[in-house]
């Protein structure tokens, strides 16, 4: 084992994969600067700087993947996918189906996501629910360095499109790039266990769609993903002081979704609280409720999520991004009602 930051883990896993498979390339804006280590090692043929032309280079990623490469296409922030959504919605996601399952698109879309540093509603969205709505797309959202490296390897090795979302609070270089910019007078409430941690010496892929049970409990199931997992864990500790035993599940993957782990937990606790930094309606929270009902479980359900545009004002955004206090309050309400 060794200790790496969240960002180092992702880069390390990519370097491992790129040194083993010459068909892996990186396409994206500013990658010579953002991926300077990979650029210096693998050269400009494999780390390709693109113009600010997302619809062209994401669309190109789809067919490059169809024609034998394994591209990692970087959409700097997932908010910017709006410019290039056609490549995902109508091409990456459809090719496998249209070809009668004879042609695969082994492409990774890597993007930063999430808020909490004061960048506003056009740069801090999660959007994983919106993207998971599309059949044919896989989405992973790691919450710690070990999962970040493992899931990146999973994404690269997988034969269908995988969107890999790295939360900006966890990735130190994004936090510095878009937030502090070298200043040391700011505190973004970064979860330490998400930012840095132990990772394996050699990366192994993590099965796609496998949640991780990170805290066992008997009274309530709290399911989350990304930074929300750390807020949920902190909330679980608060709840323990009130004699409430909370089980915390890190979903790790939005699509496919590990329903078995969640359903087993609900069967035990009878209460499900979903903590989601994405939008409330038509998303991950509602999906989990629907799955529980479809499986005829009796449960009490609650959700902590975002149902408005994220405010630019840092103090205002912190009121609406799911935090520990809201999770504790919602858990208590769910158990009391």
């Amino acid at each position: 084992m060794r200790t790496l930051t969240f960002a180092e883990a992702i880069e390390d896993a990519i370097a491992q994969a790129m040194s083993e498979d010459p068909n892996i390339i990186i396409l994206g804006e500013d990658v010579r600067m953002l991926r300077v280590n990979l650029f210096s090692r693998f050269g400009e043929k494999r780390v390709i700087n693109t113009p600010i032309s997302e619809s062209a280079f994401l669309g190109a990623g789809v067919t490059a993947a169809m024609a034998g490469l394994r591209p990692i296409v970087e959409i700097m922030l997932i908010d910017f996918i709006g410019v290039a959504i056609d490549a995902l919605l109508n091409h990456a996601a459809k090719t496998e189906f249209f070809s009668g399952n004879k042609w695969k698109v082994p492409m990774v879309v890597r993007a930063a996501c999430g808020g909490g540093y004061g960048d506003g509603g056009q740069h801090e969205q999660a959007l994983w629910g919106w993207l998971a709505h599309i059949p044919g797309i896989n989405i992973v959202v790691p919450s710690n360095p070990s999962d970040a490296g493992g899931l990146m390897l999973t994404a690269i090795e997988h034969d269908s499109p995988v969107i890999f979302l790295e939360h900006k609070l966890l990735a130190d270089y994004w936090r510095d790039y878009l937030g502090s910019g070298g200043r040391d007078n700011l505190d973004y409430n970064v979860p330490p266990a998400g930012e840095k941690g132990e990772v394996p010496d050699k990366w192994l892929s993590i099965p796609l769609g496998s949640a991780s049970m990170i805290r066992e409990g008997t009274d309530i199931t709290i399911a989350s993903i990304g930074v929300g997992v750390h807020r949920a864990l902190e909330a679980a500790q608060h709840l323990e002081s009130k004699d409430i035993s909370a089980e915390v599940i890190d979903l790790r993957s939005v699509a496919p979704l590990d329903t078995t782990t969640v359903l087993n937990s609900i069967s035990k606790t009878g209460h499900l609280l979903v903590v989601d930094e994405d939008y409330k309606h038509y998303g991950l929270t509602g999906e989990l409720a629907a799955i529980a009902l479809e499986n005829l479980l009796r449960l009490k359900f609650g959700r902590v999520s975002i149902d408005q545009t994220i405010p630019y004002s840092h103090s205002e955004e912190m009121k609406i991004i799911p935090g520990t206090k809201q999770i504790v309050a919602s858990s208590l309400k769910l158990l009391k009602d």
Partner: protein, 333 residues
């Protein structure tokens, strides 16, 4: 121009103090372009801005106090603290901004269609950088506005750097020729000289008002603050010892790792990084390239300038003090 510069220098200070938590893109170095064009606009004209909208907004007459409060996330800000500097919206000035690169193109086209219907002889101006000209929606906007003969002035502020990439490495052909291929007049000019910008824009704006359709101006300028405050490339250039110590370890380890590209390719990568830093260093003003100094030199009534600047200094100082008081009170409340 002076007011814009002074305002943004205050913003830099406030950002340094940590009172603005996230990104901040300034227009320091672009003032001559903004002033040369925006001062010719009248009520009913529209402005479609990019992520560097502060300077054109100040010059268009948006209240600096409301703007600064907005950047500090205050409820009394221009957009109640909800938009921030990349999303400046002022309905009364017909100003709309976006942090999505290239989005000012379609925005200006829509403003121009509305002008054709509702505001005869009024125009729309789109501001964007040279990096945005590789964005599909901007190319589509040039074509669309040309076939409809819309009253749009497309203003490309060319600093040669697209975020942290050298534009020349990701842009084919000449941008002026690209714009001309859409059958519209296009001109490249020195964007540090407000007089030159004003004259070119005057002609283009007159064409737009009289129904002759869109024009394109490519104005060269410097980007002295990098892409945004705290730009990592600029930090390396400004404080090489401190910043490089952080970067060189992993870079060296990676560059000499066993498997990877050939030695020749690795050397080329390292040269490329050095060239990127060199390009960044060149963006710091040398005296002759500061649009404010260029303007000052051109004006003969030096005493008058000094007295105007003193007045703006005083006004700005008072405004900033008031905003900081309001911010403090808000936090206490």
């Amino acid at each position: 121009m002076y007011r814009s510069r002074l305002f943004e220098e205050q913003v830099v200070q406030i950002w340094n103090d940590g009172l603005i938590t996230g990104e901040m893109h300034t227009g320091i170095g672009e003032e001559a372009i903004n002033a040369g064009i925006v001062t010719q606009l009248v009520d009913g004209d529209a402005l479609a801005l990019d992520h560097r909208g502060t300077s054109p907004s100040i010059i268009r007459g948006v209240d600096p106090k409301e703007l600064l409060l907005e950047f500090m996330g205050h409820c009394k800000g221009l957009c109640s603290g909800m938009g921030g500097h990349m999303h400046i919206f002022s309905k009364s000035h017909l100003i709309a901004s976006s942090g999505i690169v290239g989005a000012s193109g379609p925005a200006a086209v829509g403003f121009a269609i509305a002008a054709q219907h509702l505001r005869p002889e009024k125009i729309a101006v789109a501001f964007f950088g040279e990096g945005a000209v590789n964005q599909g929606m901007l190319m589509e906007s040039l074509n669309f506005s040309s076939v409809l003969k819309l009253p749009v002035l497309f203003v490309c502020k060319d600093s040669g750097m697209a975020i942290t990439t050298q534009s020349s490495q990701v842009t084919a052909g000449k941008l002026v020729e690209r714009a001309m291929s859409f059958d519209m007049p296009a001109k490249e000019l020195d964007g540090t000289d407000v007089e030159i910008v004003w004259e070119a824009a005057n002609e283009a704006i007159a064409d737009a008002r009289s129904g002759k359709g869109p024009s394109f101006i490519l104005a060269n300028c410097k980007r002295t603050q990098g892409h945004f405050l705290g730009d990592p490339l600029l930090r390396i250039v400004n404080e090489p010892v401190k910043e490089l110590a952080r970067i060189t370890g992993p870079l060296f380890k990676s560059a000499v790792s066993f498997s990877g590209a050939s030695l020749k390719e690795r050397v080329r990568s390292l040269k490329n990084i050095a060239s990127l830093l060199g390009k960044t260093a060149k963006h710091r003003f040398s005296g002759e390239q500061d649009p404010l100094l260029i303007l000052r030199k051109k004006i003969s009534e030096q005493e008058e300038i000094i007295s105007i600047e003193e007045e703006v200094n005083k006004e700005m100082k008072g405004m900033v003090e008031e905003v900081l008081r309001m911010y403090e009170n808000n936090n206490q409340g």
